[in-house]
């Protein structure tokens, strides 16, 4: 059901029946290491190329999510996936190995919640059951795509972010207790004219606040309705900017309630961490691993995940275009069996 201008309420409350989060070596040394279902200790994990490794991450996340939902591959009615590689090849190749109906999405780092919102819409409207959605990113594959060769010695500023090597996937089903997707707000593309690809947090922060404000307005909700509000990958400086923007947008946000997945995934002291993690796997792995685990443990009842995406391409950046950004919000509520 549509609410307000850009939000959806899922009256049938699709349930997350299986979820998986996978990480790489750097994520394994981070503070959330225990929340991953699988951690790899090198960047290639037996594959020949980083692109193949990225695909493997998504394949593994999907397989694990299906397994944890006590289903078989053939039970999946639809797979929604996306990633940061050209022509979203990692998702497409995962679709090939799953061999189920597939829709490829591109939302850069907002893909996690973009796909979750769409999956929830499909399950809620009874157009499908057991819908799988997920995304992956791989540090080396993404750097190659967007920036310099990984071994190139360029000095990065403090506002730069480190692409998360990992994946996150969930299966949504029509019934059952557990974490349920209750609402979503689809973000508008916001571009405040920032051009620095080494400061994506600042570029994405206005999109996050815009979607958050729309969410609260459409649902007549406030931060008090949530135990935790997490943005995807704004990093340290983007997080601070977002906090500065809240009063301007008349959002009364208790500082402790608002976190950023990019800041959570790495430890303060990890080398070359910069402002935090980024990449489409950042919000997916933290949400489907750490945050869902906390919900299962009863520490959180209702959370709002705001996945933020910088929709630039290397070409648009070279042609001096500014960075268009988007953020999609999905609310997840934990329901215990009656």
């Amino acid at each position: 059901m549509k609410m307000g201008t850009q939000s959806w309420i899922f009256t049938n409350r699709p349930t997350i029946i299986g979820a998986a989060a996978i990480g790489g070596p750097r994520e394994a040394r981070g503070p959330l290491a225990n929340d991953f279902d699988l951690l790899h200790d090198d960047l290639l994990f037996g594959e020949k190329t980083f692109e193949k490794a990225e695909r493997k991450l998504l394949e593994e996340a999907c397989e694990l999510a299906i397994q944890k939902a006590n289903l078989q591959k053939q039970d999946i009615e639809l797979f929604l996936g996306g990633d940061l590689s050209n022509q979203i090849i990692s998702s497409t190749f995962t679709g090939r190995s799953l061999s189920v109906p597939y829709l490829g999405l591109f939302g850069a780092c907002s893909t996690s919640m973009q796909s979750l919102a769409l999956a929830a819409l499909i399950v809620d409207s009874r157009f499908g059951n057991n819908v799988l959605c997920g995304t992956a990113s791989h540090y080396a594959a993404v750097e190659k795509q967007y920036r310099y060769p990984t071994e190139y010695g360029s000095q990065k500023p403090d506002t730069a972010q480190w692409t998360v090597t990992g994946a996150g996937a969930v299966v949504l089903g029509q019934t059952g207790a557990g974490p349920q997707v209750v609402s979503a707000t689809i973000g508008r593309v916001v571009d405040m004219g920032l051009k620095d690809p080494f400061n994506m947090g600042a570029a994405m922060a206005p999109a996050a606040v815009d979607t958050l404000q729309a969410h609260f307005q459409d649902l007549q909700a406030s931060p008090d309705d949530y135990d935790l509000i997490a943005t995807g990958d704004l990093g340290r400086y983007g997080h601070q900017l977002t906090l500065d923007l809240f009063p301007k947008y008349h959002i009364n946000m208790p500082e402790k309630k608002y976190v950023d997945c990019g800041m959570m995934i790495y430890d303060q002291n990890q080398p070359m961490r910069f402002a935090g993690g980024s990449g489409s796997a950042c919000s997916a792995a933290v949400a489907y691993g750490h945050i869902l685990n906390r919900m299962h443990r009863g520490e959180l009842k209702k959370v709002l995940i705001l996945a933020t995406g910088a929709l630039l391409s290397p070409l648009s950046y070279q042609q001096k275009e500014s960075i268009p950004c988007v953020a999609h919000a999905v609310a997840i509520e934990y329901t215990v069996e009656e």
Partner: protein, 157 residues
């Protein structure tokens, strides 16, 4: 009109806010680091030159080429071992400007694109970063040579 459709912040206002929030780049510290790192590389180069002169019978002048080749080799080894980018993060221009930086830009691009094969990958991408250095290096050398040739013709020194 709902509040969210109103412009709460103009682009200019936001850009200023973002700029203020951004940490200042430690220019002085970066300069000192670049000086130390660049100087260290030059010191190593001098050491290598001395070795070539004292042990292999090169002259001060003819030792230049094998010294550059040795530094390039060391840079490529450090790049392949995944160490050079970590040093560069600390050193900045100190590792980018010397010949080692040039070698790193080529070696890193070659490594990066090895998976696309030798022709479409390594061959065509090796100069992805170094290409501009060569193009504009040759071009500016041409301009300087041109000026240098012209000055005596028009009665200069």
């Amino acid at each position: 009109m709902t509040a969210q459709k109103q412009k709460i912040l103009t682009k200019k206002e936001y850009q200023k806010l973002a700029k203020d929030n951004e940490p200042r780049r430690p220019v002085l510290a970066n300069c000192v680091r670049a000086f130390l790192a660049g100087g260290t590389i030059c010191l190593i180069g001098q050491g290598i030159t001395d070795i070539f002169v004292f042990y292999f019978g090169f002259t001060e002048k003819s030792a230049g080429n094998p010294t550059a080749a040795t530094l390039i080799f060391l840079s490529v080894v450090l790049t392949s071992l995944g160490v050079y980018d970590h040093i560069a993060q600390w050193a900045g221009a100190g590792t980018a400007v010397p010949v080692t930086g040039f070698a790193n830009s080529m070696a890193s691009a070659a490594l990066e694109h090895r998976t696309e094969g030798y022709v479409l990958g390594v061959g065509s991408n090796m100069f992805k970063l170094a290409g501009s250095v060569i193009v504009f290096g040759v071009f500016s050398a041409f301009i300087i040579a041109f000026i240098r040739t012209l000055i005596p013709l028009i009665g200069g020194a």
